[in-house]
Amino acid sequence: MNVGLFIPCYVDQFYPGVAIATLQLLEKYGCKVGYPAGQTCCGQPMANSGYEHLADSCNTLFVKNFAEFDYIVCPSGSCTLHIKEHLHDNASPAEAKSIRSRIYELSEFMTDILKVESISSRFPYKVGLHQSCHGQRGLYISQMSELVAEPFSKPGKLLQMVEGLELVSLGRSDECCGFGGTFCVAEEAVSVKMGKDRVDDHLKNKVDVITGADMSCLMHMEGILKRQKSNVRVMHIAEILTQW
């Protein structure tokens, strides 16, 4: 199948390794992957700040870049959700609508479309999984602790397949880390406090690595860990799944 790789702007700029791991995973499971060179961003930074109306040309660009693929896959739940909920293009509304139904976050793409049942990677460490809100509560890639409903976790399921990996359970299984896009600078005090508390939960459970399906949350937590001079690392789930 023809898969368009959508790499969010900050991943492209700061975490090329995450994008490379995503590409490797998709190719390993038989996808023919294309990476449109003209891509930039999903437009979420503007939209969540109240400037959805400024995201029009960003949207048009997105449609132009990705219309041709069977699926669009992105290693970020948040950017995926934004496209799914908000991609519009007055010039080609049908294409935009179709893209909204063909875009997937990486881990849900692996479990639901590629139907991955085993992974040949090995990672002998204690790992804490951060459930990023947009992937979880927006895309429903994991069950939400607020609901009276059967628990499940798509990224959790993938991590369980990794040899040697010990997934710890946290005090608060799905509390927000406080990144929140521009919230992280606009509401700096609360954002950092939320991040510190989330990091503490992982540290208390003695993890070696904090992982997740959204690099933005991990970037925020990494920033806090580094300031605390902690040895605990953050890794995107794709980076763990490619430890083969």
């Binding site: 003209g38 048009t60 005090a189 406090k193 939320m194």
Partner: protein, 453 residues
């Protein structure tokens, strides 16, 4: 300028208190979870409640008239108030007509919203709040910080201090049981001597013209039953069509609020006691305006359980007062801009849009979606700082031109540098308590171009 950012920054100066506040409310969230899991059909109940409220809102006009007709037939005096001011005047008129200068009041978020206490105080009327938590914030001359737990921001030692000052309890005594007993004695005298009691309303039933008040302390009942005149104040969205619907809401309310199966008292008031006057004030105060906004109409389903506050990771770490509005937390943030966009333009941004609020809400209000939509409305209406608009335009321009984007990235990872439009100091707030990732040698785009072609 006082806004959520500055108020929560102040709140966060005392980290230990933030931890305590967070943990106290998280504990209530956990109690709520446990109570919800006792009901296998919990999610269906929420859906049902949401639909009953949808029906109510869609037919509000008819239900209100039906309620009025039945209430009048029951012997209740019905008043209509278009706004807070009219509401306050109606209450004041009843008091002056009866030459009453001292009254008791049980918890009512509506009267908080209308600033009734302040209004009456200026007219020389003495109001005693009889809900323990409300009495505590009243003594402290503060507003409630939470709609269900008005003094949740106060530690027991601080309450002991207040009681020592105002009620004469021994200095240094912070034993909750002792303090509650002291409050009881203090309030008992007020209950016995005051002729007028104001209460709120949790549910008003169109079919029967009765209303229901839920409390744990029984203070609303005590006030209402000992008074000559009972005035119940309610927002017009408090209606439900039929008595049978109450079973759905009573199962949800206390479980969502505190994790109790039901409130200690769920009292029905349908007609005045012999020799008593029973008034009900139906208040609009912007509700019909909100009803006319399709994107925000749902917010009127709220039954004021407070669950969205307890679960909100921002609220728990910024405190109720940081919302500078009678109703705080996520629901406050979508109700307040309807009252005054300029004054409350900051509130829809006081969220990470994590969505936990919408998930706990017993009437399934899409709170976080409405926060997102308010952001768009407020920006379009011009309630956004000019510097932010300018920065956003630059960002939008860069992100819609791949060439420029790649150049800007190379020129120094524009991403973080483009965000800090908000502070006046030139420091990027990211760095205050966090590091940035070390910039890599090349972006993924550059790597891909080199490796794959």
């Amino acid at each position: 300028m006082v806004n959520h950012v500055s108020l929560s920054e102040t709140f966060n100066k005392d980290e230990e208190r933030v931890n305590w506040h967070d943990e106290t409310l998280w504990w209530i969230r956990q109690k709520r979870d446990k109570a919800a899991w006792q009901i296998p059909e919990w999610e269906e109940l929420r859906e049902m409640a949401s639909q009953i409220k949808m029906n109510t809102l869609s037919n509000l006009h008819d239900y209100l008239l039906q309620f009025e007709k039945n209430a009048l037939a029951n012997g209740i005096v019905v008043h209509w108030a278009a706004d807070a001011d009219e509401h306050n005047k109606i209450v004041y008129d009843i008091l002056t007509k009866n030459k009453v200068e001292r009254i008791v009041k049980s918890k009512s978020m509506l009267t908080e919203e209308c600033h009734l206490n302040h209004f009456l105080a200026e007219k020389g009327i003495d109001v005693i709040d009889t809900d323990l938590g409300e009495r505590i914030v009243q003594l402290a001359d503060e507003a409630p910080s939470h709609i269900v737990l008005p003094c949740i921001h106060k530690k027991k030692e601080e309450i002991g201090e207040l009681f020592h000052r105002f009620l004469g309890t021994p200095e240094g005594n912070a034993d909750p049981q002792f303090l509650t007993a002291a409050a009881r004695i203090h309030l008992r005298e007020k209950f016995m001597t005051r002729r007028v009691a104001i209460t709120g309303v949790n549910f008003a039933i169109a079919e029967t013209g009765e209303f229901v008040i839920c409390t744990n302390e029984g203070n609303a009942d005590m006030g209402a039953h000992l008074s000559d005149i009972h005035i119940a104040c309610m927002g017009i969205e408090k209606l439900i069509p039929q008595r049978t619907h109450l079973s759905v809401f009573l199962r949800l309310l206390a479980r969502s609020a505190t994790g109790q199966p039901v409130t200690t008292y769920s009292s029905h008031f349908s007609k005045p006691l012999a020799g008593q006057e029973l008034h009900i004030v139906l208040v609009d105060n912007g509700r019909t305006r909100q009803l006319g906004r399709p994107d925000f109409r749902n917010s009127l389903k709220c039954i004021r359980c407070g669950a969205c506050m307890n679960t909100c990771p921002v609220y728990r770490r910024s405190g109720g007062h940081s919302y500078h509005n009678a109703i705080s937390g996520p629901i406050g943030a979508i109700l307040a801009p309807n009252l005054d966009m300029k004054e409350y333009a900051d509130l829809p941004f006081a969220s990470t849009l994590c969505g936990s609020c919408s998930n706990v809400c017993p009437v399934k209000i899409d709170i976080h979606q409405q926060l997102y939509k308010w952001r768009q409305v407020l920006t379009k209406e011009g309630h956004s700082p000019a510097a932010k608009t300018a920065a956003m335009k630059v960002m939008a321009g860069t992100l819609s031109r791949p060439g420029l984007y790649r150049f800007a990235g190379k020129a120094g990872r524009w991403f973080m540098r483009n965000i800090p439009w908000l502070t006046n100091n030139r420091l990027n707030p990211w760095y205050k308590q966090r590091e940035m990732p070390a910039p890599p040698k090349e972006s993924f785009g550059e790597w891909f171009k080199k490796m794959r072609k």
